[in-house]
Symmetry: C2
Subunit: 226 residues, 2 copies
DNA sequence: GCAAAAGTGTTTCAATTACACCCATGT
DNA sequence: ACATGGGTGTAATTGAAACACTTTTGC
């Protein structure tokens, strides 16, 4: 039925928390790939690639992620599909995912060729419409963290409440009241105390918690988490 | 780069409010198209079609809508993209939109061939994965109406507060307190009274309002409204 | 003992809910 | 007059926010 070629690509906005180069505070970072051919040769772009005929959409995103960073995401969710006729010289429809990686995974990250990480709010002008896509992904992440337990996509299996708060503060870019934050998070009943405490902190040892996915109402997405 | 054909289609879940056949209450309806070829011949499916190379995604959804119902939507928004390998015998990636049509438009609806309208919560088993898609669209609509002014996509330019409430009650399937509803809606400052009142109602004439889009914070989507 | 973060208690303020009651029109 | 929904008032409840205060560790 389709007379002319329309290319189908899957790209992914990959978020990880790392210290900000100047302030040292936890901050959102993402990897970009330098384009080695026209159009937009030399520009930075989102990692991605063509969709293989035998590959599900999310699987394609996962493969791209593996290829460019060596990472497996904790949280992977479809963001949006972009298909404006004029977004590229050839007609390309891009299905974009966004992913969250945990610090333990992130530590194992190995940058592929032409891959470099950037502070999410300080990326240069990107190829195609990718700047707008990154901005949209940031907006979505910041909106969604306020009503969905995605913050745990940035955390290892066991964590303190201060670490949860650090994730929220990094994403929302504002300080949160520790006392109220604690109550609100615990009120969701999504955390279970392991009984263990984190030691060696030069102050009172904080309790360790585990995220209990079963206590959460199923979210309104086709998201994929592990 | 792509070695094998992957078809790209755009489908649309089209919502309109019409009286329920049994209770008469305002209810969500949507049009479906009967498939006239395999696979799933004879089954009902979402209206849609292949993406033309010179057509934007939303434009494709709009054309499908025009073709199957003769309608132009008041609100058109991307829902999700479905691309599982096994969702169809041939590999098809579907980008799905959802649309709201207003009663004045709806009154002009002319059903195309093999088109029939169904109560949204009483659709039969559909072709492909379209049943799940309809359910997801319903979930999204019901969630989004609680935090976004999409209800006005179901209303003509001038309306009473009772009509706004009727939309919410139809979508959410529960009665709302008229007094509190009025205050909440007016508190958004999204409505401006026209000064006119609706007459001929056998009770106190309700004031007419107009939706003022400029008073609303820009929503977090690439949605398209007119 | 002191610093520093964990954790608890309490007060204030805003928003939601429930519901009583008055208003303006057609019949 | 009275039925009907439009529209206003208000008390009770709930939840968010601000912040004082106590606890437990390392040094």
């Amino acid at each position: 039925m389709t007379t002319q070629r329309i290319d189908l690509a899957v790209s992914t906005v990959i978020f990880a928390l790392r210290p900000h180069p100047r302030t040292g505070d936890a901050t959102l970072w993402l990897p970009l790939v330098r384009r080695i051919r026209e159009p937009h040769e030399g520009r930075w772009a989102l990692p991605g690639g063509p969709l293989a005929p035998d590959e599900d959409l999310a699987a394609s995103a996962r493969h791209t992620l593996e290829r460019t960073t060596g990472l497996a995401p904790r949280h992977l969710e479809q963001l949006y599909s972009f298909g404006a006729v004029d977004r590229s010289p050839e007609r390309v429809v891009s299905i974009v995912y966004w992913a969250l990686v945990r610090p333990d995974e992130d530590a194992r990250a190995i940058d592929g060729d032409n891959v470099e990480w950037f502070v999410a709010d300080e990326v240069p002008e990107l190829a195609f419409d990718h700047s707008a896509i990154v901005q949209y992904a940031l907006d979505r992440l910041r909106a969604k963290i306020t009503y969905s337990p995605i913050a745990y996509g940035f955390l290892t299996d066991e964590f303190t409440l201060a670490q949860v708060r650090e994730v929220y503060e990094a994403v929302l870019r504002r300080p949160l009241d520790p006392a109220n934050f604690r109550r609100q998070v615990l009120a969701t009943h999504a955390l279970q105390a392991t009984g263990a405490h984190l030691t060696g902190t030069s102050h009172r040892p904080p309790a360790l918690y585990r995220f209990d996915r079963t206590q959460i109402r199923p979210a309104l997405t086709f998201e994929e988490s592990r």
